[in-house]
Symmetry: C2
Subunit: 246 residues, 2 copies
């Protein structure tokens, strides 16, 4: 007696080729239970500049970034914006339980995400405490990162803000490179998929100040601009020093 291939198997296959399957939150479920998530997975594509969700949307519970960069930001009613987080591949927004978001998410590049409807996801959470545990660890880490960011916003000069931001982005970029690239001994080069204005929105600065500061870093020899968004860190130590005390 033959059975048709189950839908689960089809979905699982998508997960098996997922580039972030080993590092994203869903990896905490073992082979036998991963279908619990993959069953309700929704793949989505967004073009550069598109909104993933808005301030009051009842967005999906969790969105895992598969490719691209997402910016999370808050807006004051007079238009001032503050970017409060950046999501890179394998990062996820953790907004379970909150019903409405209290931030906006926009695609900084073309973006591919894998998201989960709120109610179904929360149901899976109840059945898999290890998933909720992983989400808690991740959120605690996000909180600590947000607080580090607060130090940068509140206590650093424009020069220190930009330099420490670039150092962090360079480091993060190194971590996500494939082993081959990492072994090749060369100066760290990375793509920062943000406009000068967006960098300013990250750091509480204006476009002009960001531009001037980058110019200064370039003239001082700490960085080199391959193109507007591609940065080579010529002197990592100098950049770290200019980023201010740890």
């Amino acid at each position: 007696m033959m059975t048709l291939p189950e839908p689960d198997a089809i979905l699982d296959r998508r997960c098996k080729t997922c580039p972030v399957r080993h590092s994203a939150i869903c990896s905490v479920l073992d082979e036998r239970h991963s279908h619990a998530l993959s069953d309700l997975m929704v793949h989505k594509h967004y073009k550069h500049g598109e909104t993933l969700w808005g301030d009051e949307d009842d967005a999906h519970a969790v969105a895992i970034v598969v490719s691209g960069t997402v910016k999370l930001f808050k807006i004051l009613s007079d238009g001032r914006q503050q970017i409060v987080g950046l999501l890179f591949p394998s990062d996820c927004s953790g907004q379970a339980f909150s019903q409405t978001q209290h931030n906006f998410a926009e695609a900084a590049t073309d973006v591919e995400i894998c998201s989960f409807p709120r109610q179904k996801f929360e149901h899976v959470l109840r059945q898999h405490p290890e998933l909720e545990h992983a989400l808690l660890e991740k959120t605690l880490n996000d909180l600590d990162r947000a607080r580090d960011w607060m130090v940068r916003l509140g206590r650093k000069t424009a020069g220190e803000k930009v330099a420490s931001f670039l150092s962090e982005m360079a480091r993060k970029s190194e971590l996500t490179k494939c082993p081959h690239d990492r072994l090749t001994p060369k100066l760290p080069t990375f793509v920062l998929p943000l406009t000068r204005g967006e960098i300013g929105e990250c750091l509480g600065l204006t476009v002009e100040t960001v531009s001037r500061t980058l110019t200064k870093l370039r003239v001082d020899g700490a960085i080199r601009l391959i193109d507007t968004h591609t940065i080579e860190v010529c002197d990592p130590d100098a950049l770290a020093r200019l980023g201010g005390p740890e």
Copy 2:
């Protein structure tokens, strides 16, 4: 045959008279399971100015504030400090799993806390998913609050920072007042147990700027200073307006 009163019962009695028992995280465990936490509870007292934990301490997993105010802050190696959170009664630090803290905690007033050793607490978490769930919700909320704070740090002027901070403190203070006080129609008055310097460390400002801004708010009639740390909000609407757009 008589039995001695069990230790649990003694500990439980302490919880039954705890002023924050209905609002703190431990309230999610029902009567039958609350002993799981109360068994390993450690009560501690700190005097104003004492350190609860330092940057690299293996602090307790969770500390619930019973009375007083705790400030959480980060320090740059050259001494610059940024306060990244304030804990009031029933609030708790959520640092499970992280082994070492990445911030300092200091008593802003005399403080009474109820804390739980890391390993034992994590054991209880594994046995009580509803507790871990509550901790996750709390941490997600903390994250959102931290991000709101980032907007204030990055995108508001000194005047807006101070005014919006006072509005928030006044509102929080109203919420924790007993019903009788809340019904009494009078202007909101609250105690802000922070020095001018500490307010500055919250908002990314210097002592002098905080002092000047408070003077301006006072001269403009938005607030009145009963004493250095006791603030009466004479004109809540004006204060909210000066706090900038929402």
